[in-house]
């Protein structure tokens, strides 16, 4: 029952994916000449998970900082729910939750006190039931009375998320949410984020873990040296830019590829026991049938075959390399 409700909510959000964040010609220059952002234009749709990928120093945190109110832009504009983040900052910030990259938590306060404080800062009425729900979802309920300094790094990270969720944001910014977090906790956090998205929260996350974007994002943006290199639906991006590999495990090893079989994209690997054929999924003809026919004519038998697709990491590296 719960699952079907969630599915309905998701579907409704897919249907009405209005723009919730609009960024126009946004620039940021630190000091005299350090251009952190160079004319960013971007729209974030309501209810989506948008992952912004980029190497260190690409401008990810600066971009989030401007939208959330921590960084002043040099020029351009950013609007949240139609409200300018500088002129109408009270309205734009009211719907935003922000989880910073650094573990910037209070020290001596208890988990409960600090989360209640965050809710109060956003002008929300105290709501013990909501706070409990958030703390339970993040496995913090048992530590609600512990002082923050007694928590592990992973738990502090959860406290930061709990603080951001305490005031029920419509848009959640996660700046490198799983940096320095172990694999188990990372997957747990992905679950929390997906659940939020299923409940209609728009998620904007920055990461340099490609796997994170690949697992969670609806759309992916790639930023490098202050410029957006690409913004695309994740699936279509992977379809468009990703090539596939067909791997054939040969019955008998080959010394070289026979001339009648040789073609572009075909390589002999693994001491001559595997043939790997790279093909473009977007091409009109992949060449798989022709390859299999050629192998049959050449009487080359194979025991098994498998296909694999380029990961987002491959795509990301190729984009950044191309730009350089």
């Amino acid at each position: 029952m719960q699952i079907s409700n969630v599915a309905v909510v998701r579907e409704e959000h897919n249907i009405s994916m209005s723009v919730v964040i609009e960024i126009n010609d946004l620039t940021k220059v630190y000091g005299d000449n350090l251009e952190a952002l160079k004319g960013i234009n971007l729209e974030i749709r309501r209810g989506e998970i948008f992952a912004l990928l980029g190497p260190n120093g690409a401008g990810k945190t600066t971009l989030i900082g401007i939208i959330c109110g921590i960084v002043n832009p040099s020029s351009g504009s950013a609007r949240v729910n139609g409200f300018d983040v500088q002129k109408d900052y009270l309205k734009s910030r009211a719907v935003i939750g922000y989880v910073p990259q650094e573990l910037t938590t209070e020290t001596f306060e208890s988990v409960m006190d600090t989360v209640k404080y965050s809710r109060g800062l956003f002008g929300k009425k105290p709501d013990a039931a909501h706070i409990e729900k958030v703390l339970r979802a993040l496995s913090l309920w048992d530590r609600k009375d512990s002082s923050i300094m007694s928590l592990s790094g992973g738990m502090k990270r959860r406290v930061l998320i709990a603080k951001a969720l305490s005031h029920e944001p419509e848009i959640l910014f996660l700046d490198e949410p799983t940096a320095g977090v172990d694999v188990e906790l990372r997957k747990e956090m992905w679950g929390v984020v997906r659940n939020l998205r299923d409940n209609g929260v728009t998620i904007f996350l920055t990461t340099h873990y490609i796997e994170e974007a690949e697992q969670m994002a609806d759309r992916v943006g790639v930023i490098d040296q202050g410029q957006l290199v690409l913004v695309e639906d994740k699936d279509s991006l992977m379809r468009k830019l990703g090539s596939k590999q067909l791997t054939l495990d040969l019955h008998k090893s080959l010394k070289s590829i026979p001339k009648t079989v040789a073609r572009k994209g075909l390589t002999l690997t693994n001491n001559g026991t595997q043939l790997v054929y790279s093909y473009d999924t977007k091409a009109e003809r992949t060449g798989i049938t022709a390859l299999l026919n050629a192998l049959s004519k050449a009487k080359i038998k194979f025991r098994d075959l498998s296909t694999s697709q380029s990961s987002l990491e491959d795509i990301f590296i190729s984009l950044v390399e191309k730009k350089k």
């Binding site: 959330c68 960084v71 922000y98 001596f108």
Partner: protein, 253 residues
């Protein structure tokens, strides 16, 4: 106005006071008692009266002011500097709160602590010397205005300071000397004429004088002038805070 946000900041800051009760309240009270012993008993045995008031009683308003000034500045400067230092200031900056609401939360809490401290010192002083307050409402007004204006000043220092040394330097090198030289322990009329003129450039003279007037109806400068000076100082601080939040000075990149 986002009153819940103001309350959240205020309560969060006050929570620290209760957590660090010894540092926040007990230490300044002990310091004041020591001042009483040194100045009241030792020097008071040689100066019996100042303008018709026994010396021990005469220094009470100055002692209260000395603590209120120092504590207002240090409470407010620490209150805003610490979240900047550990990075938790991001939460206040990303919340839907205007600059005056942020200021009201932090400065209100700092001023409250100072006022509580001032009243505790007043009560403690009552154990050592006979005390009567001629104008209790004026006394309360001066106490509140001083606590708020110097908490505002401390708030500015807490934003300006980018290390712990700078945070300490203004209270140590400015507030304490000016408070000592501002007539905490003497009447300005006791100074040679040349020094009396110099003293009039010390803004704290006006605070202590007005505050002392509310106790004994004796003052170095007219009480209206004292009130005007406190008001002016508060206005200057408010303008500075407004400018800080408008430009994001030391708060936003």
């Amino acid at each position: 106005m986002n009153l819940r946000a103001v309350k959240a900041i205020y309560m969060f800051e006050m929570m620290r006071t209760w957590r660090t009760l010894a540092q926040s309240i007990v230490a300044p009270v002990i310091s004041t008692i020591l001042y009483f012993i040194v100045f009241g008993a030792a020097i008071g045995s040689r100066i019996t009266e100042v303008e018709g008031v026994s010396y021990g009683t005469f220094i009470v308003p100055g002692l209260i002011m000395l603590s209120v000034l120092n504590q207002s500045v240090s409470n407010a400067s620490f209150g805003i500097y610490f979240p900047r230092f550990i990075g938790t200031i991001y939460e206040v900056l990303t919340a839907p709160i205007s600059f005056y609401e942020i200021t009201l939360g932090y400065v209100g809490a700092a001023a409250t602590k100072s006022i509580i401290l001032g009243l505790i010192i007043l009560a403690t002083a009552g154990l050592f010397v006979p005390l009567e307050i001629a104008h209790p409402w004026w006394m309360a007004l001066f106490l509140v205005l001083t606590a708020f204006s110097f908490s505002l000043f401390g708030f500015i220092i807490g934003i300006w300071a980018d290390n712990w040394e700078k945070l300490q330097i203004v209270p140590m090198l400015l507030i304490t000397p000016l408070a000592f030289l501002g007539g905490s322990f003497y009447s300005v009329s006791m100074l040679p004429p040349a020094w009396q003129t110099v003293t009039m450039f010390n803004p704290i003279v006006y605070l202590i004088s007005g505050f002392r007037w509310s106790f004994f109806e004796i003052s170095d400068v007219p009480v209206e002038l004292s009130l005007t000076m406190v008001g002016l100082f508060m206005l200057l601080c408010l303008v500075a805070v407004w400018w800080i939040f408008k430009t994001g000075y030391r708060l936003r990149d």
